[in-house]
């Protein structure tokens, strides 16, 4: 196949998405097969997933409501991933962040303006989440404790702490059936974005992803982090403060998850209660891996995963499928995303060819590349 420079540049720009798209297609195929084996109408189900995710303004609203915390919890995976750490404890950071944000209004004098209270709530959430995941990073760097296991353990501990405090010392005596912290005053609740049926968390989720992308891609610190992620040893050799960089990546990631908890409390739930533990932290892992740890791609992938989750109730209603159906699809998608990583070597070879074509303006043979 002969390529000219603009075509090469175009293909080069979509090349990183190739494994993700292939994984999505093969996951869809396997999911359809899984349903067909049981005699379920597979094509209808796939159509309903799309319809339930993006088919109506109600579907979009439902999707966006799930996508905005997912953007932030995915950053809790993607930022530590820049320094080569696999952190999967976002759920705990979200819970603690939400809880700490929920108790801030009680400590402020009544009638405090949202201009003061909301930033303080966000700060409390971010500090709690950042400290929790920062602890994971510190254990990794200074004690050599595997961060994947410790982050999940810390998440379980955080959830136990959350339940203990919300159902015990922090409980609002008026919350009878569903133990909750005292409700946040109406004046301090975060409202919808004008013209949209969606709260401001979406805007902050998108902004956080863009900021993270700029930081990772263009700042010196971000570059240093990626050097650490590429090779810990090389980073130490050139004198980078490896431990501090790794810790910073974990703190920033945890802060993002904590902020997600704050928005869930201040824009959706109105108080910290068990509804906060909806699995956004765990789904964020999938989002980050689907985005191949690229903060900008997280925005798109969060919409995709949020959409899949949003379609669950439609599948349940129309086809009488169990609520775990979307979980099966997400699992298949995750497994396929990783399996298609095997294509990486081939893609690297294509990239070199395409780069040469794009720069030199010389047509190249693409058909004969081998990894």
């Amino acid at each position: 196949m002969r390529l000219n420079a603009p075509a090469a540049r175009l293909i080069l720009s979509v090349l990183p998405a190739v494994p993700t798209v292939l994984a999505l297609l093969s996951a869809l195929a396997l999911f359809a097969l899984f349903l067909l084996v049981q005699g379920q109408p597979a094509l209808d189900a796939l159509g309903l997933i799309f319809q339930g995710a993006f088919g109506s303004s109600f579907a979009w609203q439902n999707t966006l409501l799930r996508a905005s915390p997912l953007m932030l919890t995915a950053l809790c995976v993607a930022l530590p991933a820049q320094v080569g750490l696999v952190v999967i404890g976002g759920e705990g950071a979200l819970a603690l962040g939400g809880m700490c944000a929920a108790i801030v209004p009680q400590m402020l004098p009544p009638g405090t303006s949202w201009l003061v209270a909301t930033p303080l709530m966000a700060l409390a959430g971010m500090l709690a989440g950042g400290a929790w995941i920062g602890g994971v990073g510190a254990l990794r760097q200074w004690r050599g404790v595997n961060e994947t296991i410790s982050s999940l353990l810390m998440s379980y501990i955080a959830i136990a702490l959350f339940k203990h405090l919300v159902e015990g010392p922090l409980r609002d005596p008026a919350s009878l059936n569903k133990p909750s912290t005292p409700p946040i005053p109406d004046a301090l609740m975060i409202g919808p974005i004008p013209g949209l049926d969606m709260h401001w968390g979406l805007v902050f989720g998108v902004l956080a992803c863009i900021a993270a992308w700029v930081f990772v891609r263009f700042s010196t610190k971000g570059f240093a982090m990626r050097v650490v992620g590429g090779s810990d040893r090389a980073a130490r050799l050139v004198g980078l403060p490896v431990n501090q960089l790794a810790l910073a990546a974990c703190v920033l990631g945890g802060a993002a998850a904590g902020l997600a908890g704050m928005f869930e409390v201040a824009a959706v739930q109105g108080s910290a209660n068990a509804s906060l533990l909806a699995g956004y932290g765990y789904a964020g892992i999938l989002v980050a891996f689907a985005a191949r740890q690229n903060p900008l791609a997280i925005i798109v992938c969060a919409l995709m995963i949020g959409g899949i989750q949003a379609s669950g109730s439609l599948l349940q209603r129309r086809l009488d499928l169990p609520d775990a159906t979307t979980l099966v699809f997400q699992g298949l998608l995750f497994a396929n995303l990783l399996a298609w990583e095997a294509l990486g070597g081939r893609i690297a070879a294509w990239r070199i060819r395409l780069q040469a074509a794009a720069l030199a303006d010389v047509p190249v043979q693409l058909g004969e590349t081998h990894a």
Partner: protein
């Protein structure tokens, strides 16, 4: 004879009973993880396999009326998912840790989906052996109701210990996990051995799941496992990759897991959630004590990505 009704005795007895009752899933999953890691791979997906095993065991026990058929089904489900992990991780550039996380999600998703019709009905349970009939104390009697799966697990840990140390199979597996280059140079089929180890490891984890649904707590629902599959990974590190130490570690974890219910039994109910988090705290503390940043752990298989 100590006073059998004093709170301390009751607490210790329920911890002892809990150690045996709660430890079995830890034991099976950690033996499975131990075997997998001896081959140089980490399978974090054993948590998903544990849940799948629990569901398969319960469903098959209900459908056939034989709990032992359920145990076999759980083992088969484990082999199947273990094979998936083994095969996919044999592809180039696929991280075994990341794929384990995916398998955790996939395994629990499949189990919740396929297990939906089995939440309501009551399946036949595995019988237990009554070793405490001689005791006058009902607590002690209760503690000595020991399930056959626990006995099998204990025997298995000693057999594995011997097998890894003294058989040709065991030594080949350890060579593959310790130094892949040497194993390859000697002509051993690296991938096949690792896939086999992961599959057998998956089988153990599946059987561990059968214990959850057919013995204790002895039902099938979506909140059945509370991360035992993942804690087993930490437990293997604590046991320094030795099957018999996995047994002692599993008993310790079982006792920690029984702390919440045991304290409830003597009337301490205030910090229920905190006491239930004891196994997580214990795991974390053990990892903090055992790990060092500057060197890999003694006894760790050389090819393991987890400890590098």
């Amino acid at each position: 004879m100590p006073d059998m009704h004093s709170p301390v005795v009751i607490l210790l007895l329920s911890l002892f009973a809990g150690a045996i009752r709660v430890s079995t899933p830890y034991l099976f999953v950690s033996l499975g993880e131990c075997l997998t890691e001896k081959g140089g791979r980490v399978n974090l997906g054993l948590e998903g396999i544990l849940v799948s095993g629990a569901m398969s065991a319960y469903a098959v026990s209900y459908l056939t009326g034989s709990p032992w058929a359920g145990v076999v089904a759980a083992g088969l489900a484990g082999v199947l998912l273990g094979c998936v992990h083994g095969l996919v991780c044999s592809l180039p550039r696929v991280s075994d840790i990341a794929f384990g996380i995916a398998l955790m999600l996939l395994g629990t998703g499949l189990a919740f989906y396929l297990g939906k019709p089995f939440i309501e009905p009551q399946a036949p349970m595995l019988p237990s052996i009554d070793l405490g009939a001689w005791s006058a104390s009902p607590q002690l009697h209760n503690a000595l109701h020991i399930n056959l799966l626990f006995v099998i697990g204990v025997v298995l840990s000693f057999v594995l210990h011997w097998g890894l140390r003294s058989t040709r199979w065991g030594m080949t597996l350890r060579l593959v996990g310790d130094h892949a280059e040497t194993a390859r140079a000697m002509g051993y089929p690296l991938m096949r051995i690792r896939i086999a180890a992961t599959a057998v490891g998956g089988m153990f984890a599946g059987v561990g799941g059968a214990y959850l649904s057919l013995v204790y707590p002895g039902s099938w629902n979506e909140g059945l496992s509370s991360g035992q599959g993942l804690m087993a990974v930490a437990l293997v590190i604590f046991a320094r990759w030795q099957p018999v130490r996995c047994l002692w570690a599993a008993l310790l974890f079982g006792a920690a897991g029984a702390l919440g219910p045991a304290l409830q039994a003597i009337g301490v109910t205030s910090g229920y959630y905190l006491y239930n988090a004891a196994p997580y705290v214990l795991t974390l503390v053990i990892m903090i004590i055992n790990c060092r940043p500057d060197r890999t752990l003694a006894g760790a298989p050389g090819e393991l990505s987890l400890t590098r």
